[in-house]
């Protein structure tokens, strides 16, 4: 056999792959969007006044109190500025999200594979999925104490429900002939699970991970507002006590920055894990 037919068909793809990577004009629109955000914020300051500090005051607060702040210590916060709180909230969000994601992915893929697991998990997810997570937050603090643990459990709980639903949907979207083809090639249930269902679900799982991680920051900070010794939420509630809105918003800005960076890293990981996907399929 010759490769003539093959070569002809494969050429356009090879051309695309070797095309130079030049920054697209879209980056300018993104920068424009960021500029617009700060312009609206500044306008808001002009209208509302001192209760909505302008961007430069908020950024100044975030920078001044970042690593060390006597002012924060004076308010009763532990020494070290925003930094230890940022680390604490990031730790909570990432760990909670990771634990929940693993549990949710396993139960979701499990229910897609086994009708028994599906029937067991269905009512549980239906009930848990409808519980408003913010209303449930105080209960977690009562049950698991005002500690790192209750924050992590709350975030994990939410991520597990999200990933369960995304994983279930991912397998439903996978064409059944993939699994059938694998079984005619001699693959058993386990091989179909880890060589077909799992890799085939990866694109959708990243979608679920993105949704869960996006919510994790807020959930972690909200539980911190309710009572904790560490975390960005603690800084916000403490500085609220002295009407220092610039420092409150400084904490928020730093948390948003971390969230954006984490999301960008997640998208890089998705790109690396889904190189096999056709362009424009996501």
């Amino acid at each position: 056999m010759t490769d003539i037919d093959a070569t002809r068909d494969a050429m356009p793809v090879a051309d695309k792959a070797t095309a130079p990577a030049r920054p697209s004009p879209e980056i300018w629109w993104t920068l424009g969007g960021i500029a617009l955000f700060f312009i609206v914020w500044t306008l808001g300051h002009l209208v509302i006044g001192r209760y909505l500090p302008p961007p430069w005051q908020v950024i100044a607060a975030a920078v001044t109190h970042f690593f060390d702040s006597r002012y924060f210590v004076g308010l009763g916060l532990p020494p070290g500025g925003y930094w230890p709180h940022l680390v604490s909230t990031t730790y909570t969000a990432l760990l909670g999200c990771a634990v929940g994601a693993v549990i949710g992915t396993l139960t979701g893929l499990g229910s897609a594979h086994s009708n028994v697991i599906h029937q067991i998990t269905r009512p549980i997810v239906a009930i848990l999925g409808t519980v408003p997570i913010l209303v449930a937050a105080p209960f977690f603090l009562i049950w698991f104490g005002v500690s790192e643990n209750s924050k992590i459990i709350l975030v994990a709980f939410y991520s597990a429900v999200v990933l369960h639903l995304y994983a279930l949907r991912a397998v439903e979207h996978l064409h059944p002939s993939f699994a059938e083809s694998a079984s005619t090639l001699g693959a058993g249930p386990w091989m179909i699970f880890h060589r077909v269902s799992l890799p085939g679900s990866v694109p959708e799982l990243f979608g679920g991970l993105r949704a869960a991680l996006g919510a994790a920051w807020g959930l972690a900070a909200i539980t911190e507002l309710l009572g904790t010794d560490r975390g960005i939420g603690r800084v916000i509630i403490t500085t609220w006590g002295v009407q220092d809105i610039a420092s409150m918003m400084g904490g928020l800005l730093l948390l948003a920055l971390i969230a954006v960076i984490a999301d960008a890293l997640l998208m890089l990981a998705r790109r690396a894990a889904t190189r096999w996907m056709p362009e424009g399929a996501l």
């Binding site: 037919d5 068909d9 002939s177 090639l185 996907m277």
Partner: protein
């Protein structure tokens, strides 16, 4: 040898209506035969093929391969689907190795066998490619290589070339004939295309309403080019099949 004995399959729709997809089918298919299952859509071709693959359970009767009843999919029966079943998340090479991996064959041997089959289907240089970098016809070649590499003596093909353009389909038909002749495997090939059956088959089983209505020896000489298919015998076979498919209702004498 495959023996099909009184195979029946009744599907019950949600409405309660029963559809007899296979109705007491009996036949035998010998080793090394190239059999086409012909018929109109919804007349049982795919159900019969999926039952042979073990992907569909009969409601009555039995299918046996070398005396052993078919209970489910098995490595003695490979399958090429109409859908694109090449796993997009594996390289071409890993796809062709999949069946060998399932059988627990060591990596070095897997790689060797897979490369050999990729060469035979003309994709020797594409082992490291992702399926997305291949055309639909090339992915079909990967699916064929995967089925052959698995080593199954019986290969079941469910309208595998259906979605392809005419010229690509002719290329793949020729490839399949070459592989069939060089390996001597049994191929059972579902198609609704009479021309495709004339090009490929040694034998055509015509299905209508879940029953085998004719079993025709396609005794044309190879290659089955345009002239051969237009020979008196070729035209006679076409007419017989068309008659069974109820396309020539005006022709007197057609069953």
């Amino acid at each position: 040898m495959i023996s099909i004995t009184n195979a029946s399959c009744v599907f019950r729709h949600a409405s309660g209506r029963e559809v007899r997809a296979l109705d007491r089918i009996s036949s035998t298919i010998g080793d090394g035969e190239f059999v086409c299952l012909l018929g109109r859509s919804g007349h049982g071709k795919s159900t019969l093929l999926r039952s042979l693959a073990g992907l569909n359970t009969l409601t009555a009767g039995e299918i046996a391969v070398d005396g052993r009843p078919v209970k489910g999919p098995g490595i003695d029966r490979g399958m090429v689907f109409q859908e694109d079943t090449v796993f997009p998340w594996m390289t071409v090479q890993a796809n062709v190795e999949f069946g060998l991996l399932a059988q627990g064959i060591p990596a070095a041997e897997r790689q060797g066998v897979a490369r050999e089959w990729l060469d035979k289907v003309g994709l020797g240089r594409f082992g490291d490619s992702w399926p997305k970098e291949l055309s639909g016809g090339m992915r079909k070649r990967v699916a064929i290589a995967t089925a052959f590499a698995g080593g199954a003596p019986i290969l079941l093909m469910d309208e595998p070339f259906g979605p392809l353009d005419y010229v690509t389909r002719r290329d793949l038909q020729n490839l399949l004939i070459d592989l069939w002749r060089s390996t001597g495997r049994t191929i059972i090939f579902v198609t609704h295309d009479i021309e495709e059956a004339l090009v490929l088959a040694e034998r055509a089983l015509v299905l209508r309403a879940g029953r085998i209505v004719d079993d025709i020896r396609v005794d044309l000489t190879r290659p089955r080019d345009e002239e051969e298919r237009a020979s008196p015998r070729g035209i006679a076979i076409s007419k017989t099949i068309l008659g069974h498919l109820e396309l020539e209702q005006h022709t007197p004498g057609a069953a």
